[in-house]
């Protein structure tokens, strides 16, 4: 790895993997929103069976 590439990588990652956080956050956020939507908009309105 060239010195300037190394410095660029060090600079980009000095505050942590922000980009990975954003992507993972969007994916997990969609999953969580989907769970909430299924639970409150589909499962509960169908009523109890027990």
């Amino acid at each position: 790895m060239r010195r300037d590439e190394h410095q660029t990588a060090v600079q980009a990652l000095s505050n942590g993997p922000i980009g990975a956080f954003v992507i993972a956050g969007i994916a997990v956020g969609l999953l969580f929103a989907g769970w909430l939507a299924f639970y409150f908009l589909l499962f509960l309105p169908r009523g109890t069976v027990g």
């Binding site: 790895m1 990652l13 993972a24 956050g25 639970y39 499962f43 109890t48 069976v49 027990g50």
Partner: protein
């Protein structure tokens, strides 16, 4: 250090390029997010359970599968839909390889309906699509599930527990009809979907 070239191949980043404290902070933050999500989901499930909005079918009642057809509530003449004194409906069904008996039942709309099922042989499944009705029918036990249908509609009722080579063909039907029309049906018509 790699010498510069016109077409440098990708090289992995060396270990230690991200400071240790940044890695620890990142992991702690992500762990916090995950635990928070689990806490919120569990809190929702427990809260709705305590408030009565969420109850799994939990009836425990035994029945002898060898004598279903001889005595008790699952004799042939007692199968199908019955109207109780309080106006609710009770549907009694037997699940057996590879059909439900009766093959089709009619129930009134806008009425509390209690399904009671018993298996004559192996474990079967009881499922009404687009509802929360979803239970196993275990031989030796009575499966009881409550439902309420707001509007007239025909439901397919597949067995969804593998019960043998004919499992894929084990289907029955629940036909929800308007309450006024149901009142005019004879007991035999309540156990048939024939027009």
């Amino acid at each position: 250090m790699v010498e510069p070239s016109s077409n440098p191949s990708p090289q992995p980043l060396p270990d230690g390029i991200v400071p240790e404290h940044v890695i620890a902070r990142t992991e702690n933050l992500w762990l916090t997010v995950m635990v928070s999500m689990l806490v919120v989901m569990m809190a929702i499930i427990v809260t709705t359970g305590i408030l009565g909005a969420l109850h799994p079918s939990s009836n425990v009642e035994v029945v002898d599968p060898l004598t279903l057809h001889l005595r008790g509530e699952f004799v042939e003449s007692n199968l199908g839909t019955a109207i109780e004194p309080d106006g609710s409906a009770t549907v009694r069904l037997i699940a057996e390889q590879y059909d439900f008996v009766p093959h089709c039942v009619q129930v009134p709309a806008g009425t509390p309906v209690t399904f009671r099922l018993a298996s004559a042989d192996v474990i079967h499944g009881f499922l009404l699509p687009d509802t929360n009705v979803n239970a196993m029918v275990v031989p030796g036990f009575v499966t009881e599930v409550r439902a309420h249908f707001d509007a007239a509609r025909d439901y397919d009722m597949p067995c969804h527990e593998f019960c043998g080579y004919g499992h894929h063909a084990m289907w029955a039907h629940v036909s929800v009809v308007p309450k006024e029309r149901f009142a005019n049906l004879t007991p035999v018509e309540r156990t048939s979907c024939a027009p």
